[in-house]
Amino acid sequence: MTMVKTLFYLMGFITLASALFVAASKNLVRSVFMFFVTLLSLAGLYVLALADFVAITQIVIYVGGILVLILFAFMLSGKETLANLQQQNDRFISISKLSALLLAVLFFIVLINILFKTDINNLQWVNRAVSYKIDIKPDSPMTSNIGINLMTTYLLPFEAISILLMMALVGAAHLSRKEKNA
């Protein structure tokens, strides 16, 4: 158990630290790569939460898809922009930064406060699930469970999201494509 715990803390630390680095870094490319680290460590956390399928999806879609897309966008927007942006970052005046920081910290305090107030570890339904043994165990066959759910309970969202993706595809393609006479 302690190994899992240690792993968890490690992952958690990496997640937060890399996220903070992303927030603090003045170098754009570096921050993007640090975000990559964040996402990966998050996938690790998912695994620790016994959601291996989600973790895989995270790596495939987020790391493989989204991040590549972002990098691609960087490339498309040209090298000089990158330089420009870096410079701008340097010139950043910190008043708005400070207030943003204040806001973020306040939110954090509120969230943490709430978590402690709720006594999150002793939620009724969680306890009931544990006692009825319907919580996920490391050996639960979750992938097939997901498969069946996708075809039954979550059939509607599953089908709907296909239309959504199609639409997003059409739209994004429309926006990005160059018209010959344009």
Partner: protein, 677 residues
């Protein structure tokens, strides 16, 4: 028999109605006549008033000292109150009816000549007929609300006639002043009527003030303060209409109208309406209120007389004299000499009308002179006149008769009525505290002063030489008495100024038939000695004053005085006294007159102007409030709206991160708010 009486009454009523409505008909016909200056207009009006006068005589004979006739019919219903309109003929109303129509007739005849050359002659006669209608209706009507209506309509027609020459700005100012001052009185009257209605639920004059007067009954009582508000209202109305202190200043100004109008309206009839009102509502007054009336009347009489002493404008002198005489009447009402007051009203109407007509002729002729030689003079100023008696003998005689009547000289009607008032005022003052003695004393002084200014007037105008000719020798005076339209009224009115018309006994006023028509004054001790001393004393002294005045104004020029040699000698012997008089009395009296006039112009009118200015000041303030505070408040609201709008907009700076920040901050704030409260 009953039926017969009934039908006679109906006939009487019909006659009275016809007498009232004929002038209205004339008015309508005149309005519809084509052209501005239609000769027919004058004759239509005159014919109408002639018939009215004849009918009035008939009505008078039917009603005078017999039972009163009262008929009415439903006018309209408001709420549960039924308002009746009708005719109430009793001694008071038929006397007034007769008086008004009899005075109006000569004035109409006179006017046909007087206004012959005016280009708006038609309008003049229309107005005049309208006035006659209103005035006649006023005297016969039986309901207070209708009384008010005609009360204001006479004021309105007076407004129209004063401003008849509306291109003269003085005339327009004068008629505005007249109307507004009358309006003040009207409001008082309306308030009084409303109060009476509130308490007694009726407007009917007969019910209210007739034989079984509601106002005397003990069933209803006016609440304490209300009684005095009602009285105040009536007093205000009387003061405004009858030109009593302090609302009298419009009357001298009203002389801007045609002189014939002044004769009819501002001397004989309309101004008497105030006294008539007092007569109508007499039962409503309490002892205290009557005293106040007496004081007002006496003071007005005295004050106006002093002012008249120093005026040079012919018509103004007469106007002040009218105010003074009206003061006598009001005072008479106040001391309870109800009948004497009305008597004086009647006699005064004739002689004052006569005097105004005389003045009209004189002014008319002076105007001719002025036009002929293109002089820059005021044709009404008596200082430019003189010596007219030779050129216009009839006018002179008429003036003499009228003047003596005004003075109250024996053998004239004025003697009968005025001495009656004086005697009764002394009798009345007998039982009063010392201070009240001032009232008869001031009345008698006013009476003496009357003698003085009348003499001055007549002497200045008719005696001596023509002053303009003295200044400017080549001016020739071609004047005359004028045509029959002038002469006939003068003769008629002059006759009416003599004693036989009112009483066969020229000395004792009590024997006048008119007095018998009204309740006798009660409760006064008859102090016989006054009945001898006062008339004799007054007359002798008046005579003396007449002579003195004559001497002051004519003898200085060492003119022969053939008619009264013994008087001349007397005067000559008393020369020093005369001088002392002129030092001790004339001077101060003149000064007093001037002072009073000054007081009039500066204090009373000044006060009125002050009020006006305050009014305008208030109106300016109100205007300012409107523009700045009320609209300012609106603008404030508008700017608040815009302010909130701007605040809401201030987030919309176009920067999306700022939007996000605001959103998150607000959400956090909402949450924290919920947490904390």
């Amino acid at each position: 028999m009953e039926n017969f009486l009934q039908s006679i009454d109906t006939l009487t009523i019909r006659f009275a109605l016809a007498a009232v409505l004929l002038p209205l008909l004339a008015f309508v016909v005149n309005i519809c006549l084509p052209g501005k200056k239609n000769k027919a207009a004058g004759w239509i009006s005159t014919l109408a008033i002639l018939i009215s006068a004849i009918l009035s005589v008939f009505v008078f004979l039917k009603v005078w000292n017999q039972h009163q006739v009262h008929q009415q019919q439903l006018w309209f219903t408001i709420g549960e109150t039924k308002l009746y309109a009708g005719v109430l003929l009793n001694n008071l109303s038929v006397l007034m009816l007769l008086l008004v129509s009899l005075i109006a007739l000569p004035v109409h005849i006179y006017s046909t000549a007087y206004m012959k050359h005016d280009e708006n002659g038609k309008r003049y006669f229309a107005y005049l007929s309208f006035f006659c209608f209103s005035m006649l209706a006023l005297v016969v009507i039986d309901s207070l609300i209708l009384f008010y209506i005609f009360w204001e309509l006479v004021g309105f027609s007076s407004y129209l006639l004063i401003g008849f020459w509306y291109t003269r700005s003085k005339a327009v100012l004068a008629n505005k002043k007249a109307f507004i001052m009358n309006r003040i009185g009207d409001i008082g009257l309306l308030a009084a009527i409303a109060i009476l209605f509130t308490v007694y639920h009726t407007f009917d004059i007969d019910q209210l003030f007739g034989t079984n007067a509601l106002v005397r009954s003990t069933v209803f009582e006016l609440p304490g303060g209300w009684q005095y508000v009602a009285f105040g209202g009536i007093a205000l109305a009387v003061a405004a209409k009858s030109a009593q202190f302090p609302l009298h200043t419009w009357l001298p100004d009203a002389m801007e109208g045609p002189t014939s109008v002044s004769a009819l309206i501002h001397a004989a009839t309309m101004v008497a309406a105030g006294v008539f009102l007092l007569g109508r509502v007499y039962p409503v007054f309490t002892e205290l209120e009557l005293n106040i009336l007496a004081i007002i009347g006496a003071f007005t009489a005295f004050m106006a007389a002093t002012i008249a002493l120093t005026q040079n404008d012919l018509k103004r002198i007469l106007a002040y004299s009218t105010i003074s005489q009206l003061g006598f009447m009001v005072m008479a009402m106040g001391i309870g000499a109800y009948s004497s007051s009305l008597f004086h009203l009647a006699t005064h109407a004739f002689f004052k009308c006569l005097l105004f007509l005389v003045a009209g002729i004189v002014i008319h002729e002076m105007q001719h002179v002025k036009d002929e030689y293109k002089l820059d003079i005021d044709p009404q100023n008596i200082l430019y006149m003189g010596g007219l008696r030779k050129k216009m003998p009839l006018t002179f005689i008429a003036a003499l008769v009228g003047g003596l009547a005004l003075i109250g000289f024996v053998f004239t009607s004025g003697y009968l009525s005025k001495d009656g008032i004086l005697i009764q005022s002394f009798e009345w003052a007998e039982r009063k505290p010392l201070l009240f003695q001032l009232i008869p004393i001031s009345a008698i002084i006013a009476s003496f002063m009357t003698a003085f200014y009348v003499t001055r007037l007549i002497v200045k105008v008719f005696f001596g030489e023509f002053k303009l000719a003295e200044i400017n020798p080549h001016i020739k005076l071609h004047v005359s008495d004028g045509g029959w339209q002038y002469k006939l009224p003068l003769v008629f009115l002059s006759i009416c100024c003599l004693f036989p018309v009112f009483s066969l006994n020229p000395v004792l006023y009590e024997h006048a038939w008119l007095l018998n028509g009204f309740p006798k004054i009660t409760g006064l001790d008859r102090v016989n000695i006054y009945h001898t001393i006062i008339p004799v004393g007054v007359n002798i002294l008046s005579l003396f004053i007449i002579y003195w005045a004559y001497a002051v104004y004519i003898m200085e020029k060492a003119l022969p005085f053939p008619e009264g040699g013994w008087l001349f000698r007397l005067s000559y012997r008393e020369w020093y006294i005369d001088k002392i008089y002129s030092k001790i009395i004339v001077g101060p009296v003149l000064a007093l007159g001037n002072l009073a006039r000054w007081f009039d112009i500066n204090i009373i009118d000044g006060f009125i102007h002050l009020l006006e200015r305050i009014g305008i000041g208030f109106s300016k303030i109100a205007d300012w409030i409107d523009r700045n505070i009320i609209d300012g408040f609106l603008h404030l609201v508008a700017s608040i709206v815009l302010g909130i709008g701007n605040f809401a907009r201030s987030f919309q700076g176009g920067r999306v991160q700022y939007y996000l920040f605001s959103m998150l901050a607000i959400i956090l704030a909402i949450f924290l708010f919920k947490t904390l409260f």
